[in-house]
Symmetry: C2
Subunit: 215 residues, 2 copies
């Protein structure tokens, strides 16, 4: 389904943008895509701050001009507006368990990788946290992030040893955030999933074979 | 409405528990309350780990034994199950904007206070992050947290200067997280909202006059 009245501001290299692109691909939804050039710091331009005062991508802009930032908020808009094939769950129990698992993966995994990258990459000096305020890098945090990512791999292995997908027996946004996290850890921190984590490896092969994986 | 088949594991001094207690009070919902004694480290007991492997409060346990952790996931279960007087929004646009604002307050405000407290309090040595894994405190993080909280106050003032409640013209979970954050900052970090922040002060007076504020 094409919904040209919606505009997604995104960046090709942004893992958060990928969480939304992958959701759209799974749902066969297409929206107008607008690239934001992070290397030219376009996210800090007055025009973009008007759209998202936190200077972050992605942002979804509705036909009436309302801006929606934050990945789970964008998912929620799309899910509530185009309800077929839900990726946020159908029953109250499913919806809450998917919220719980997606959030655990984000806080324990995705955020740990982001912290590791933002506290080490030279180009992000003074930008250790995304958003409108400047914060210096903290070397001790970079070290801690790597330890957190390894703990996350162990916790994920324990979950996937008992569960077909991250939040149960159906593919959901929890799997999207997990896939983006693993690719981001391997690419951004040189921390691939260890070979010993057989359940994660098996899940990864299944999930990355889906057509949406390239989004 | 009383829903005795639901059990909420919580701790009286836990700000995250308060986010759920306040939601229940606003909705006039009551569930079976089970106290977890954090001072006796009951959250690390095998019995509690069975309920919540991350050793965190609060957790909602359903009649069928399913455990739901993470505040937004618990809210989602309650909202989807008992739909009158929604605090997560009614239309797709409202739902996504409330998700966005609640999340911004949590990440920029609540999480910054939590980080400040966890990286300074002596009793939390080796417990700088909640959850099953041990992490040492980082002094530089404690300093940065205080700066983040002050920036959060400024951003909140800008929003409330233009908006009756945090996510628009209706009371929502975004207001609950904001109120808990401000009380936590004042009590846990000795960082009350500055007197200059008139819009925040006015909002605080309105919101803390609601009967649910004591929850």
């Amino acid at each position: 389904m094409s919904t040209d009245t919606l505009k997604l501001y995104h960046a090709s290299g942004s893992p958060n943008s990928r969480r939304v692109r992958r959701y759209l691909a799974e749902r066969n939804l297409s929206v107008s895509m607008v690239s934001v050039d992070l290397s030219a710091k376009e996210q800090f331009s007055p025009a973009y701050i008007e759209i998202n005062p936190r200077s972050m991508v992605p942002t979804l802009v509705l036909a009436n001009g309302t801006s929606i930032g934050e990945v789970p908020a964008i998912w929620r808009y799309l899910e509530e507006s185009f309800a077929e094939l839900p990726l946020l769950g159908s029953t109250p129990e499913e919806k809450s368990l998917i919220t719980m698992w997606e959030r655990r993966v984000e806080l324990d995994g995705f955020a740990a990788v982001m912290e590791g990258v933002r506290n080490t990459v030279t180009g992000l000096k003074g930008r250790a946290l995304a958003g409108p305020h400047a914060y210096e890098q903290i070397p001790a945090l970079a070290e801690r992030s790597a330890a957190r990512v390894l703990n996350f791999f162990d916790d994920l292995e324990a979950q996937l040893a008992n569960s077909q997908f991250v939040a149960g027996d159906k593919f959901s946004v929890a799997d999207i955030t997990t896939l983006v996290t693993l690719d981001f850890a391997a690419g951004g921190m040189n921390l691939p999933v260890p070979k010993t984590h057989l359940a994660v490896k098996k899940w990864y092969a299944t999930v990355s074979a889906r057509p949406s994986a390239k989004a």
